[in-house]
Structure formats: structure tokens, C-alpha cells
Subunit: 202 residues, 4 copies
Amino acid sequence: MEPVRKQTAAQTSSGGRPRSPRIHQAILKAAVDLVLESGSRAISMDDIAARADVGRMTIYRRWCNKAAIIMDAFVARVDPGTLFLPARSYTESIRLQMRSMAKAFRGKDGALIRALLAEAQFDPRLAVELRDRWTMPRRKMAISYFQRGIKDGLLRSDADPDAIIDILYAPIYYRLQMGTGPLSDAYVDEIFDHAMKGLRKV
Amino acid sequence: MEPVRKQTAAQTSSGGRPRSPRIHQAILKAAVDLVLESGSRAISMDDIAARADVGRMTIYRRWCNKAAIIMDAFVARVDPGTLFLPARSYTESIRLQMRSMAKAFRGKDGALIRALLAEAQFDPRLAVELRDRWTMPRRKMAISYFQRGIKDGLLRSDADPDAIIDILYAPIYYRLQMGTGPLSDAYVDEIFDHAMKGLRKV
Amino acid sequence: MEPVRKQTAAQTSSGGRPRSPRIHQAILKAAVDLVLESGSRAISMDDIAARADVGRMTIYRRWCNKAAIIMDAFVARVDPGTLFLPARSYTESIRLQMRSMAKAFRGKDGALIRALLAEAQFDPRLAVELRDRWTMPRRKMAISYFQRGIKDGLLRSDADPDAIIDILYAPIYYRLQMGTGPLSDAYVDEIFDHAMKGLRKV
Amino acid sequence: MEPVRKQTAAQTSSGGRPRSPRIHQAILKAAVDLVLESGSRAISMDDIAARADVGRMTIYRRWCNKAAIIMDAFVARVDPGTLFLPARSYTESIRLQMRSMAKAFRGKDGALIRALLAEAQFDPRLAVELRDRWTMPRRKMAISYFQRGIKDGLLRSDADPDAIIDILYAPIYYRLQMGTGPLSDAYVDEIFDHAMKGLRKV
DNA sequence: CATTAAACGAGACGGTACGTCACGTCTTGAC
DNA sequence: GTCAAGACGTGACGTACCGTCTCGTTTAATG
């Protein structure tokens, strides 16, 4: 199972003309622009090549898939910075993080992640990439944040961090895909509040 | 925006050879079998036609899409029966319902809904169909069940049934797609329990 | 070694839409026109398809090669009628036949046969086709004509009809390809006369 | 219309590393070997470069075409020495020359000239090169030989040397390309004898 | 010797054409 | 009017070469 991204390292070693990073960026930008304009399914490799003013082979030399391009473009867009910013309280910081994610999903990132997640259902290689480069890094950060909360007695000690993540964030993905309602801050608050205090009447 | 399923009523009227229901079923079965064997992306209309031993036009006369076939096949598979079976208690019935859904998703239904949900991200018509024929009917049933629980004082009176549904069920869809872990009964229980009693340490 | 022309017989048997002979002709005409306009090397399958107002697949369904199309078009152009028309004398009929061939080679047929003969040097399948459908039929007719001349005591009894053909006709092919001079009637006469009476001074 | 061979004089002037003649030969050898192995159409510039262990640019610095390489390689192979060796008689010398040409065409030179002649049908520049560097030099030598024969009363005084050449040599090219029979000495003799004494029964 | 300028290998690059695949429509004859 | 079969126009796919370009590295003549 060959990789989705093609080894840029292929030319690290010996001679030959180096791959232009300017072209690399042009392709990523063209891909993102076109996906946001027309949807990832509606565009072809030719479209991307034409928009980036690049030969088709130049694309295939670097990526094996339309999805792989979008993946790289998406990951490059994401601010890898601190996820859980300090707030009034430990839990408020979680709420803010959820809101910022919802905000991102309402914008361009939402369209991209929708395309990637959908495409990953058909392509196992892409699924792995998505998990490794997007999902898991964020889950890991969240897990450590939640573990601190548990240790500090702010969250239930019997709670599995993985389950906490799913309860809080899965609804955001769900609405993104299902369109059962707006991905508003109010919705995020609703999810957050009920997840925190529980659904059962005490 | 023309419909995904083609009006079977097209031939309600006058004479001519009636459409064979045997063929209808053969196509649905062929489609499901092939999707489960190779994945919905890997198969073509020709493949389905060949497997069903049917002309391609016979398929296009009834559906306009590969996805539309899978949609029909999927909806036909689903037991439209009672969702929330009686159990030891009101909330236990919810847990059982979640478990039965997870079980379905672990099997063939999981593969089909994954394909449909993914395809719906690209095709708005299919998204509407999926919402109307799968998502919303189940949500409506769940909403009325949750409303009864609220009225009976078993669930918080400030809880929005839509939010309740999302907190409980979104994680199941999430795991189905993300593959961050098994869709086991233990996982369902974890989600259910924490959603019910809340994540915050009391 | 699969054939150059694709078996039209593929569909002689059972059902299915029959191949349109109108399209067949349109493709052949488009190919010939384009070859004469731009040369066989300069045109692509797409060009032919576009000119014939036809899908590319429709061409590939019938021929596997650009050359195969040109071959069919060329053979179809040729008047299969009588080669050696009656003339003042037995040998004059030969001269007239040579002249008519040179005339054809000066016109459109010349461009086509040049392309075919050249392409056949690279493609053994095409070489066989050309031999079977163009070269040999004409050689056979010529051989029988020459054999009659030998039997009637008009040509040397020690002459091999194959050699006679080559001496008379090879120069015409040679000039067509080499361009060492015009393919005029005067040239044909020169070849004919000297071949008949010999080069050595008596 | 720029030349087929690139001006080696490009570097006559000042300093810089001189072009390696060893590389020059390696390319020619690689080209010939590959053409004889696989045919001129089947091989690419990359193939030649790889076989000669040379960068592609190094080839394009010297030739502009695959055909131009083959042309140079072919011309380099040919013994430019005396064409018409002395023999028992004036005409026997012609026969021997024809035989030696047929022998060459039966071997590697045959494959090369076939490729060149075919390619020249598509590329006017190459056609000119082939005429100037192969065809015409030989024709000129032959013409002067035949003119001597005419002057000496050994050949008909009404014979055009150009026609003589065509009658004698065109059949050899014809068989080379058409494959209507072997290019044997017996065949050459047949052509020679009949061309000399004429086809018509006296 | 150090300089220098071109040759050299490698391989990226923009193109063009290829031949295949799938789509969705259409056109046969058989029922 | 449906059905199986398959032709048809369309358009994306991924590959193969082409001929040019751009790297870093030789390599020979010149200063």
C-alpha cells in the first residue's frame, strides 16, 4: 500500500533540478480555491493543474490523489498552535475550544474536512492519513488536557478521556455532515452544558 | 432539482409491459452484495447490471444514481419496527436502543450507511434523501421519546431533545467513520452513562 | 497479435444497437481529409474524432490505430476495377496501367500510401494488412497478366513475373518516397521503355 | 527550418569544457543497438540516454531528433569507400555493387535505412538530410559510372542515368520495405539481368 | 596553479497524445 | 412499454514522451 503523498525525499539525495516550492504552494492554493468554489467532486486534476498553471504530471509527481492534495492543503491551513487557551476556568477553556472549532467548521475548513472525511470513507490510505495528521494530534492534546482535569478533581475520575472527547466533539462533526441544524455557538453551548452536567434529572 | 428515485408512477397509467418487481429486487441485492464485497466506489453501474443479469437501461429507468440504489437498498434492509423497546426502565430502553444501533453499524448496515453518508457530502439531492428517509424519521421517534421523558421528570427539563440525540448518537457515527476505536457495547455504555450523569465531578 | 481492425463481427450475433455505418464513413472521411491537410503524423485521434463529430471511444471501438483507420480509408478509396485496360497492344496496356498508378500517386492516394508504407515499417501488423489488402491483390492481377504475355510469346519466357513487377513498379514507389524527381508520365515512359528493351547496348 | 544536426561549431570559440567525443560515440552506439533490438519507434530518448549512461540534455545538445541520431549513426556506419569495384567487366561491376548493397540491406543497415526512410516520410527536414547525405552521394557516383558506360558504348545512348539507377536499385528498396520476398543475390541477379537485356521477347 | 565557462548527470517542468474507464443516453430486436 | 445488449458522446483518468529548464558537479583550456 503505497503512500498518499509521494516521497519528496526522492530527491533529497543526489542531483537533478529541485522541486519548486512555489509550484507546491500554487497547487495547494488552486486546489483549495477550486474545492471551495465548486466542491471537491466537481473538480478534476486538469482543473487544478490549469488553475495552478502547472502540468498535470507535476501534480502526479507529488500526490497520487485529488484527496491527497486537499489533505495537504487542509493540514497546511490549520493553525497548529495552542488548542486549549486559558480562560476564566478549566471547563470554560474547553467550551471556548469547542466554539473555535465550530467556527472553523462554519468556514472554509468545514468544507474541506467534509470532503476529506467523506473521501476517507472510500480510501483506506486517506483514512489513515486523516487520522494520523488531523484527528489523532488533536485527540492527543485533548486527552492530556482532560487527564489533567481528572487528576485535579475537576472531571469525574471514572471518565475515559476518549469518551469525553467523543461526547463533546462528535456532535460537531455530526451537524457538519448531517445538516440537522446550524453549527452555532448556541448549539455548542447546549452540547457542552448538557455533557457537563448530565442529561438525567437529579 | 429532479428526484433521486425516479417516479415509479411513470407507468401507473396505461398499457405496456409492467416493470418486473423481481428485477427490482435483483438489482438491489446485486448492489448491496457488490458494495459489501468491494466498496461502493470500486463498483460501476455495469458491475451491478452484470451481477443482477440486467440491462443497464433497466437500472437507469428506476434510479438515476449508484447512490440512489444503495439508498433504496439500505432503507429496505432496515427494520422500520419499534425503535425503543420496553426495558427495565425508561433510560435502560435508551441504552438498549443505542446498543442495537451500534450492533447494526458493526455489520452490513455500517458499510452501507458509511457509503451513503459520504456520498451525501458530495450530492445535495442524496443528502436530502438520506435526511428524509433515514435520519429524520429516527430523530422524530427519538424526540417524542425524549419529550415524554422530560414531561415525566426523568430527563432535565432544560434539555433540548435535539441536543440529547446528538450527545447520545453522534459518537456512534463518529466512531463508525473515524475508526478511533471499536463500536462495542462497552463503548456505547460509556457514552450513555457519562451523557446521563454528566462529565463534571459533583 | 491482435488484429488492426477490430472485429465488426463482434455484434453480428445477438442483440444490441448496431454500429452506425454513417459514423463509420464519417470517421474515414475525417481521417483522410485531415491526413491530406496536415499529414498523418501531425493529427491525433482527438482531431479525427472532433472532425467526424464523434466520441473517441467510438473510434477505438472499431480501430486500434491511427494507421488502421487510414488503411481502411485508403483501401475504400481505391477503385478495385479492372487494372489492365485494353489498349493498342498488350504492352501498351502495361504502360497505361503504370501511368494511371503514377497519376494516383501524384494525387491524394500518394499521400496516403506514403503514410501507410512508412507506418508499416514500424508496425508489423500494419505491414501484413498493407500487403494483404493493397500490395498482393495488385501483384496477383499483374502476375496473371504477365503470365499471359509470357505464354503468348510477348515477354521473355525466362522472366519471373515477380521480377517484372518489381522492375516496372518499384521505381514509382521509389520516386514517391525519395523525391528524387517528379512522378511524371515522361518518367513512367522512360522506365517502361528501358525495362522493355533493356539497358545494354545491343 | 533549423538543421537536424546541431552545430558542433557552437563551441569552436573560447573556453569551457569541450564536448566529449567518447560520449558522442556512446550515444550513437546506444541508439543503433536499441533500434536493432526494439525498432526505432519503440524506443525513447530516455531509453537512449539510459543505455548510453548519459543525461538527456547531453543528447539534445547535439541532435534535435531521435531520427537525427539514427541518421548520424547510419551514415557513420557506411563505408564511404569505392562503390563500383573493378570486376570481370563493366557491367559485372554493377551487379557486384547491387549485391553488396543487398547484403548490407539484409543486415543491420537494412533496419536502419528502413527506419530512416520511413521517418523521412513524416519529417521534411529529415528527408532532406537523407537525400543529401545518403541518397544523392550514391546516385552521383552511380551517375558518373553510368555516364562512362554510355560514352564507352556499353549502355544505350538514349538511357537517362537517373532512370537506369531507378530500374536497378528501386527494386532493392521495394523488397526491403514490402517484404514481398527475400533480398537474395538470386533476386538481385534476376533484376540485373532483365534490366540489362530487357523484358520484351526479341 | 587558480579561474572560468561550458559540458555533464539528474530530474523537475509545461505540454500533448495516448488508450481506458465509467457515465448516462440512445437505438436495435425480442417479448 | 419493458427488457438485454450494446453503440454512442462525453469527459476524467493516469501514463508516456517530448523538448526545455535548472540544479550541483566535473573537466579541460586559459590566464
